[in-house]
């Protein structure tokens, strides 16, 4: 009950935040010099036709009114049609969003796993000379951005070893099973093992590139918060009660690091989605990033707006999820 109330309290601020985000998006998109009316018509259209289209799209009204119109359509679920691809934007998003979430989710899981292992290793080395070395190692690791890992993996596994596929989501001979759009899930549901294998193999390199790039910050925060927690009185008291070191670590120290680590991961997820943009482009992976880059190159305004909003929605969803997790894990947050 308290948990639900606390979660509801946190969700109360979502509408104003979304409103602000949409305003921000509207303003930054209006900076774009492209004329959506001109582009929505064939090049042969007359000036009158363009003016009519502008009127119809509300582009001749003041900015505030335009924003209201745009917001109204948005709320009604009308995202418009792609000017360049001549398809409804919703259909484009339905294909791209699950692909990106699947990739980002896998990458985050990998980053969390690596981060946990690395953080524990760093903590185990505390106070020893090796700690300095390992710590410097994570700093170095942190300095290699995700897209460089991606290029490196392509160079090593794709080009030199030819061990892994590095373009697209699926092998050429395979058909994408329909359903949710989450390929791993769909192929399993359809019982198509070949498609599952191929999809998994296609995701290994991009997910690894993102996962390795985002693991070091998790390592560091876990390491630092473990050190903080071990200075806390309750850990000393647990040891004074004669609990074994393993139990102290697993049952008392680690749960208390969940709060800062989860907080970091929520922030990281936004950055990871940003990183995924270029990684998708590099691996020709048909996700939101590839869609956005394509739309930007073609000044495809409806798609740009829709994809940017989709990013917001995904980040917001992840934040809500993490907020729920944090509330479930930490009773102190529920009281506030």
């Amino acid at each position: 009950m308290t948990l639900l109330a606390a979660l509801a309290r946190r969700l109360l601020v979502v509408p104003p935040i979304l409103l602000m985000a949409s305003l921000l998006l509207f303003i930054s998109v209006r900076v774009l010099p492209a004329d959506p009316a001109g582009m929505s018509l064939p090049p042969t259209a007359s000036a009158d036709a363009i003016a009519a289209a502008r009127r119809q799209m509300g582009l001749d009204r003041p900015l505030a009114a335009q924003y209201a119109i745009w917001l109204g359509r948005l709320v009604a679920g009308d995202l418009g049609r792609s000017v360049h691809l001549r398809r409804p934007v919703t259909a484009l998003l339905a294909a791209a969003v699950p692909a990106t979430i699947e990739l980002a989710g896998l990458a985050m899981a990998l980053a969390a796993g690596l981060g946990l292992a690395g953080g524990l290793l760093l903590f185990a080395l505390r106070g020893e000379a090796a700690e300095m070395l390992a710590d410097a190692g994570t700093t170095l690791l942190m300095s290699v951005p995700d897209f460089l890992w991606a290029l490196l993996f392509i160079l090593v596994f794709g080009v030199l070893l030819e061990a892994m596929p590095f373009t697209g989501r699926l092998g050429p001979a395979l058909l994408q099973p329909g359903g949710t759009g989450f390929l791993l899930l769909d192929s399993l549901l359809a019982g198509d093992i070949a498609a599952f294998r191929s999809a998994a193999r296609h995701m290994v390199l991009p997910a690894a590139a993102l996962g390795i790039a985002f693991a070091p910050p998790i390592m560091r925060v876990l390491h630092a918060s473990l050190i903080d927690v071990y200075c806390a009185d309750h850990i000393r008291q647990a040891r004074l009660r004669g609990l074994s070191p393993t139990r102290v670590l697993l049952c008392h120290a680690l749960p208390n690091t969940a709060r800062p680590v989860l907080k970091l991961m929520a922030v990281q997820f936004g950055l990871l989605l940003g990183g995924a943009l270029l990684v998708e482009e590099i691996f020709a992976y048909p996700g939101m990033g590839a869609l956005l880059v394509d739309a930007l190159r073609n000044a495809d305004l409806p798609v740009i707006q829709a994809v940017a909003l989709a990013y917001c929605a995904v980040v917001l969803g992840i934040r809500a999820l993490v907020a729920g997790l944090r509330l479930a894990l930490d009773p102190r947050l529920r009281a506030r």
């Binding site: 109330a5 309290r9 106070g127 309750h234 008291q237 009660r241 004669g242």
Partner: protein, 595 residues
């Protein structure tokens, strides 16, 4: 046959690459079922003794020599696994900060179950029974609700009761309590002490009671060991040590405590703080000699042994100890009310805060309809339990909070509105001394700059400020060269004096002091009390003294206000209120003072 025996125990700390002993060659013995009190000021090394029992020393500290035998086995050389088997079962610990010592993510039930499982209790139903029994043993009411709670939902004394319950759950042979009640309110402290005493008697466990409060130790302990600078300077049966001390340090500590009965008397303030670790390591002879009122030349040369029968002391001149007395036995000069207009008048002051969050939003009335007046030069104490609203009252007076209703009249001007004009007026008429001097002094400024802040705000010239700083430092009894130090380089007592000097810089007619003695050692407290009495003679300021410590209030203040749940329930001259309390709350507070 003793249960716990320390033989030549030495703990060394690494200070800037140098191994410095925290205490050297410590010897003591604790018999089963007895309570040994380790008493001394902070930095005496007494906490380190408790930690040495469990071998959980802070980073950089280690046991370099000696042994600590528990039931015949040496805890120092014992393999860690064997030592761990003893912890929680045969040796239990009661910590200083009860709330911090509980895992915030565990419910009371989970915590007790974990502990009982470690003690060998198996089975859900049995665990539940044990948990309920543990709560009942420490008089925690409503076990069903209590078990479902998290630590942050408990009061400090409830947390401490829980930890006491866990300590005694395993029928331990030894309980180590390190400042176990320092973080509690006066009333809660008295209750928890009584509870610990009862459980200790019932279980027959021995107890190592570490405290800096001589009076607490007097009420609880069978034997006492007084520690100074890492040495036990006097030890013996509690009644003898306190009744006829044979070491000047014990005697000085006793004289530094303001008494609760009898006439008000001057306090003995030990000069200088206890020397630091490195200074001590280089000190030849008796380590107390630099502070000792009865030292002779030879005290500085030869180290005195801990000598005597049951009551031993490490002093070469024990015969002179009874002769030590406070500087002048006169009580502080009484305050003469001047027939002037009051410096502070509060009328119907109210303040409430919202608590909790939607949907369980609530309001607490921190201050309810408070009216009072303070005459010029009068020292008025505000006492009460924690949460009684006394700190909020102080913050309202200085303007850190705005009242919901009521008037604040400061030297004839209504400043309740809290607008810019009122703020400017307040600057010259009321200042505040904060509870924690470490937080109250900007660590990035020099002491001189901090003291002269009031003049700096008025745009005074450097020479003017410099003169004022010199005068104030001299009045505070601090050497001039402290002016260039940063607050981090000062001791706790010095910091509090800087804080007072800053507040006095603009010579306001009213000072608000919020629990400024909390956490200070007895000798430092005595120094500050002497200082406040002296400053009052010279500066003629009134003081609103918010405190939890009734003996200090009795020593310092002319009038007392007792607050309870935001309202003033009793007020009057100190002697009257303390001598003939009328309200239950006042009686409870007075009864809880250890004597």
């Amino acid at each position: 046959m003793s249960l716990l025996v320390a033989r030549g125990l030495t703990v060394a700390a690494r200070v800037e690459g140098e191994a410095v002993p925290v205490f050297r060659g410590l010897n003591f013995a604790l018999a089963p079922g007895r309570v040994l009190g380790l008493v001394g000021e902070s930095g005496a090394g007494k906490s380190m003794v408790g930690r040495a029992v469990a071998q959980l020393l802070p980073p950089g500290f280690r046991i370099s020599h000696g042994s600590m035998e528990f039931g015949g086995a040496d805890l120092v050389t014992m393999p860690p696994a064997a030592r761990r088997a003893l912890l929680g079962r045969d040796i239990a610990f009661i910590p200083q900060q009860p709330l911090a010592a509980l895992n915030p993510l565990q419910t009371v039930a989970a915590l007790l179950d974990e502990h009982h499982r470690r003690l060998g209790v198996r089975g859900r139903r049995l665990l539940r029974e044990y948990a309920r029994a543990a709560l009942a043993a420490v008089q925690l009411p409503d076990p069903a609700a209590m078990l479902a709670r998290y630590p942050h939902q408990l009061a400090a004394d409830q947390c401490q009761r829980l930890l006491v319950a866990m300590a005694f759950a395993g029928r331990p042979r030894l309980v180590v309590a390190d400042e176990a009640t320092a973080a509690l309110d006066v009333i809660a402290q008295a209750d928890v002490i009584a509870l610990m005493r009862a459980l200790q008697r019932a279980s027959g466990a021995a107890m190592l009671f570490i405290t800096r409060d001589l009076r607490l130790a007097a009420g609880l302990c069978d034997e006492l060991a007084v520690m100074h600078a890492g040495d036990i300077v006097e030890t013996g049966p509690a009644a003898q040590v306190l009744g006829a001390p044979r070491h000047p340090y014990t005697r000085c500590l006793q004289l530094a405590i303001p008494p609760m009965d009898g006439p008000r008397r001057a306090l003995y303030a030990l000069p200088e703080p206890m020397p630091g670790l490195r200074a001590l390591a280089r000190l030849p002879g008796c380590r107390f000699a630099p502070r000792c009122p009865v030292k002779a030349d030879y005290c500085l040369r030869s180290e005195p042994p801990l000598a005597g029968g049951a009551h031993r002391s490490a002093c070469l001149r024990p015969g002179l100890v009874p002769a030590i007395a406070a500087a002048d036995a006169l009580s502080p000069p009484p305050w003469r009310p001047a027939g002037q207009a009051p410096v502070l008048v509060l009328e119907g002051l109210c303040k409430s805060f919202t608590t909790g969050a939607w949907p369980r939003r609530g309001r607490v009335d921190a201050v309810r309809d408070v009216s009072l007046r303070v005459a010029p030069g009068e020292f008025v104490a505000v006492v009460g339990e924690s949460g009684s609203g006394k700190s909020t009252l102080g913050r309202l007076v200085v303007g850190l909070e705005r009242p919901d209703a009521g008037r604040i009249v400061l030297a004839g001007h209504d400043v309740g509105a809290g607008d810019a004009a009122a703020r400017r007026y307040r600057v010259d008429h009321v200042q505040m001394v904060f509870q924690d001097p470490q937080a109250a002094l900007n660590p990035r400024r020099r002491v001189a700059a901090i003291i002269a802040q009031a003049l700096e705000a008025q745009g005074a010239k450097f020479a003017v400020r410099e003169r004022r700083v010199r005068a104030l430092l001299a009045e505070m009894g601090m050497p001039l060269e402290l002016g260039v130090r940063s607050p981090a380089q000062l001791s706790g007592g010095q910091r509090q004096r800087v804080s007072i000097a800053r507040a006095l810089c603009s010579a306001p007619p009213l000072l608000v002091a919020d629990d400024i003695m909390a956490g200070l050692d007895i000798s430092v407290q005595a120094q500050l009390l002497l200082l406040l009495h002296r400053l009052r003679q010279d500066h003629d300021f009134a003081l609103l003294f918010i405190s939890r410590d009734l003996p200090v209030v009795r020593h310092l203040c002319d009038r007392v206000l007792v607050m309870h749940r935001g309202a003033i329930v009793e007020e009057g001259p100190t002697a009257t209120v303390f001598g003939w309390p009328r309200h239950d709350c006042t009686r409870a507070l007075l009864a809880a003072v250890p004597r």
